[in-house]
């Protein structure tokens, strides 16, 4: 059996595949690198698959915390792993927009799923999941409710600061000026969409465009990005698990190579 682990900045994911690349176990936990998240998430995936650790023939780790996870056979970047995972479930994908907790990237794939090119956000948290987390906190709502809140907005309030910290104070002042919380929430989604599309514009966007990562769960954000990009965006059933899936697929491939 083949294990793929994706250790992000704010969540950990694990996928287990059998010889036929069929998913037999999967888990996700909202704690990332520097915690016991990785071990726990592997335990859960094993439990689901009804396996013991010894049953795993190969492990590949990816994600921000990949360097500190020493019990894998190999570590591969999240860029290659996301590409692999997405190509496996959506072979027509040519562009992957992945928005995680602390970075955002756009990956261009060729027909065989190879990475042709990729770009990542700058060092700061603008245009990443962290931005939405901060917005949810200021708007005093749960992260998972932010999308619904924005759905009820009519006119997105413009948030001009790209810096997450400044955007936070900008939002506070908008609220104190009497803006509706729903419109501010919508504005926050538009703002992240603009940042992401700015990133997309640096490469040649070829459909089909697929979105992955934690932010893909936020329907309003996906909608805003699609509007801004003027292209439909598809989403795999399990947008957060693509990195771990790709890692597991690599684990399977390496075993065959040997």
């Amino acid at each position: 059996m083949y294990l793929g682990v994706d250790i992000g900045s704010s969540s950990s994911k694990a996928v287990i595949l059998n010889q036929d690349a069929k998913k037999i176990g999967e888990a996700i936990l909202n704690i990332g690198t520097g915690s016991n998240g990785p071990q726990e998430v592997i335990g859960q995936a094993l439990f689901q698959a009804g396996l013991q650790r010894e049953a795993i023939r190969r492990t590949v780790v990816t994600g921000y915390g990949r360097m500190t996870f020493t019990s894998a056979d190999r570590q591969i970047t999240e860029i290659s792993c996301h590409a692999k995972g997405v190509h496996f479930v959506m072979p027509n994908a040519r562009t992957v927009i992945d928005i995680g907790g602390q970075d955002a990237k756009v990956i261009c794939l060729d027909q065989s799923g190879n990475v042709g090119n990729f770009i990542m956000n700058e060092k700061c948290a603008a245009g990443t999941g962290r931005f939405l987390e901060v917005m949810a906190r200021v708007l005093n709502c749960k992260l998972e409710d932010l999308s619904g809140l924005a759905d009820r907005g009519d006119n997105g309030v413009t948030i001009s600061s790209t810096c997450t910290v400044f955007a936070e104070s900008e939002v506070i002042s908008q609220l104190s000026m009497g803006q509706r919380i729903e419109d501010v929430a919508l504005g926050a989604h538009c703002s992240i969409a603009q940042r992401i599309v700015g990133l997309c514009n640096r490469v040649n966007i070829v459909p089909e465009v697929v979105i992955t990562g934690g932010v893909a769960l936020n329907r309003n954000a996906v909608h805003c990005i699609s509007e801004e990009l003027k292209l439909p965006i598809s989403r795999p059933d399990d947008p957060q698990g693509m990195g771990a899936l790709g890692a597991a697929l690599y684990a399977l491939e390496f075993d065959k190579e040997r």
Partner: protein, 408 residues
Amino acid sequence: MEEVKTSKQMLGELLDKHYSDALEAKKNGQLVAWATSISPQELLTTMGIHTVYPENHAAAIGARKCAPEFISHSKGNGYSVDICSYARVNLAYMELLHSEAGDIPKPDLIFCCNNICNTVIKWYENIAKELNIPMIVFDLPFNHEYEVSKQDVRYIKGQFLEAIQKLEEITGRKFDYDKFGEVMKISSETSVWWKKAAMKAMTKPSPLNGFDLFNYMATIVCMRGTTEGMDLFKLWYEQLCEKEAKGLGPWKPGEEEKYRVMWDGIACWPYLGPTYKTLRKYGINMVTSTYPDSWYIVYEQNDLDGMARAYSSNYVNRNLDFGVDNITKLVKDYQLDGIVYHSNRSCKLMDFRQFEVQRRVEANTGVPSVIFDGDQTDPSAFSLAQFETRIQALVEMMEKRKQMAGEK
């Protein structure tokens, strides 16, 4: 037995001497100039004016991890974080006048050439104003057309002649044109040896570890007009030839040069070691950059037109088409597998066209590349983990291309 010096030892000694000579000269009441890195030092060298280079000094401060103290001092003086960090370090040094990384004497004269950027104009102007010292400016217009135009050559040459006059006034001495010819000759020759050494990296595997370019750069900036500088590059060249003849690569015997990349932009001085080690860990040798050409300032002896053209032909002063052609050629000449672009928070001019250069070079060559964020001296604008992710992703792309090429 006579000890044979390695070029590295000589490099260290020459740099030490360069700085101590300047300090000594100042003590003895001789004139000291502060000059930009690609300025017509020939004029100062001819006049016997000791010259130090604030950009180099700031880089040294950065490499010794001493920059934060200076950066925060400048911040206190009101200089924005958006200004080039070399400028912020140097403007603070002008007041603090001491760093563990080594000292340079206070200037009596400012020598500023804007063929590298326009930030230097305001930066050096501030120094001249604050210290109330003369400033000689060379305005080398950006080349919007592919080649340096005739009228620009005339304009620049006129400025050289005017600068000579000003130097005569400042020193009260006559300009020695015979010596000038000599210095021109040495400067061009030194440039030639610098480039010849750097070009040794075209061999596969490269006998040159490309990060050495960052080290030797200090001397091509500071000592281009001196015979010592020329001897250093000759020696470096010879030693590289020896390595090449033995088929040796850039690192320890047996350590394979798996990938050859170009580095675009300035080094991240505060992280020179970590960035180097990260690349080496993956078997990546940085075989070239735009540096070898930046100090390839070559012209015929006594040819002021040629000298004007050479100074204006610096890579960053040439247009986008030239930039793209230049890198496209490097990809072929050095048999590159990839390109690493440093998106340097300090250097707006270099970053400005980077995305477009990257896009076009990729279209021309098909070679994969990555951009990472950083800064030449400000340590806060760089993250090693993010750097490594990008480098590793580049490796994965380069590996895949090699595989695919092998399958064909």
